[in-house]
């Protein structure tokens, strides 16, 4: 069965009485992908679940006014990204820790997390990634883990392709350094 197109979803959404049905289709198409994108930012399942729910409520409220200036996917991803980052900032405000400061407890928290199943190398990689400035972290995750093209990333993060490439290059260097440290 062919996947439903964004255009079909939006057309159905604007039809009277069909908005919820269309939204269900949108969830089926994008929920999992947005979840994993959020999860890699916030790291923990419970946090990712909260952010995901808030994200889709915002998407529901904003979909009526979606003008199609960007692709639907780009718009969704931008909301998800902003929600995840807002969550991290709120969390850091509560703990008094700057979100750019390295989280020295991350290793222990991930190891204790029932929903983290990585080996030592994957743990080291996650810690190295978490120590990047958050915009670099986003670029690295979207490029390396999600294999996203720079043009798409540029639309989501509202940053030039050149700047993203530079950011990714710096992120890779820092992660290499982090992985080869003892």
């Amino acid at each position: 069965m062919d996947e439903i197109s964004d255009h079909q979803i939006l057309t159905l959404f604007r039809r009277k009485g069909e908005a919820e049905k269309a939204f269900g289709m949108l969830l089926d198409k994008y929920q999992e992908r947005t979840y994993w994108h959020i999860r890699k930012i916030v790291l923990h399942h419970e946090d990712a679940n909260d952010v995901l729910q808030n994200t889709y409520i915002k998407i529901w409220k904003g979909l009526k006014g979606f003008r199609g200036d960007s692709e639907l996917f780009t718009w969704l991803y931008r909301i998800a990204t902003n929600e995840a980052l807002s969550f991290l900032k709120q969390k850091s405000n509560k703990t008094g820790r700057n979100i750019e400061d390295p989280d020295m407890t991350l290793s222990n928290r991930l190891l204790a997390d029932d929903y983290f199943d990585g080996d030592v190398i994957q743990l080291k990689l996650q810690i190295a990634v978490s120590q990047l400035p958050y915009k670099q972290r986003l670029v690295f995750q979207m490029k390396y883990f999600e294999n996203m093209k720079y043009e798409k990333m540029s639309a989501i993060l509202d940053t030039s392709v050149g700047a993203l490439k530079a950011s990714y290059h710096h992120a890779v260097k820092k992660i290499k350094a982090g992985l080869t440290e003892d």
């Binding site: 919820e20 969830l27 889709y56 529901w60 030039s160 290499k176």
Partner: protein, 154 residues
């Protein structure tokens, strides 16, 4: 195991997803979200009236609201916003740390909706003394240079 060739950090296994979700999570999450959406729909007021008569009196008071808004924007909000931009910019300088460069600046400006047409030069002039107390001259110079370069490109 770290590969011997340090240029190749992307080895098999690192890209695999180490994160798990509870069994049945996505189906449950979908149901929860749709339930919340249904509540949102139920909470919306039912519109059973004609919009036209309301448009007439709404447009009548819109003009006075617009005047009030312009007055507020220029006399109260803009001075507050200019100071707020300076405060946020200062927060960002400390926040970005060693990553203060045109990449992070571009992202920050886009995120905050700050346009290069905003009177940032005036803002920086007004707040310069207080900004310089909290950061160093080099960082402020980077921002000003970047703004000048970007404006010349326009």
């Amino acid at each position: 195991m770290i590969p011997e060739n340090n240029d190749k950090i992307f080895f098999e296994g690192a890209k695999e997803n180490p994160f798990l979700v509870p069994s049945g999570y996505f189906a449950e999450s979908r149901a929860q979200i749709m339930e919340k959406i249904a509540k949102e729909v139920d909470a919306q007021p039912v519109k059973g009236y004609s919009l036209r008569p309301r448009l007439l009196w709404v447009s009548g008071i819109a003009a006075s609201l617009l005047i009030g808004l312009l007055l507020f924007q220029n006399l109260i909000y803009k001075p507050y916003r200019d100071t707020k931009i300076a405060q946020e910019l200062n927060w960002f300088i400390n926040y970005a740390g060693s990553d203060l460069n045109e990449v992070t600046l571009a992202s920050y400006f886009a995120e905050k909706g700050i346009s290069l047409d905003d009177p940032l030069d005036e803002t920086l002039d007004i707040e310069r003394s207080s900004l310089l107390e909290m950061t160093d001259y080099d960082e402020l110079f980077i921002i000003e240079e970047w703004i000048n370069i970007e404006k010349q490109k326009k």
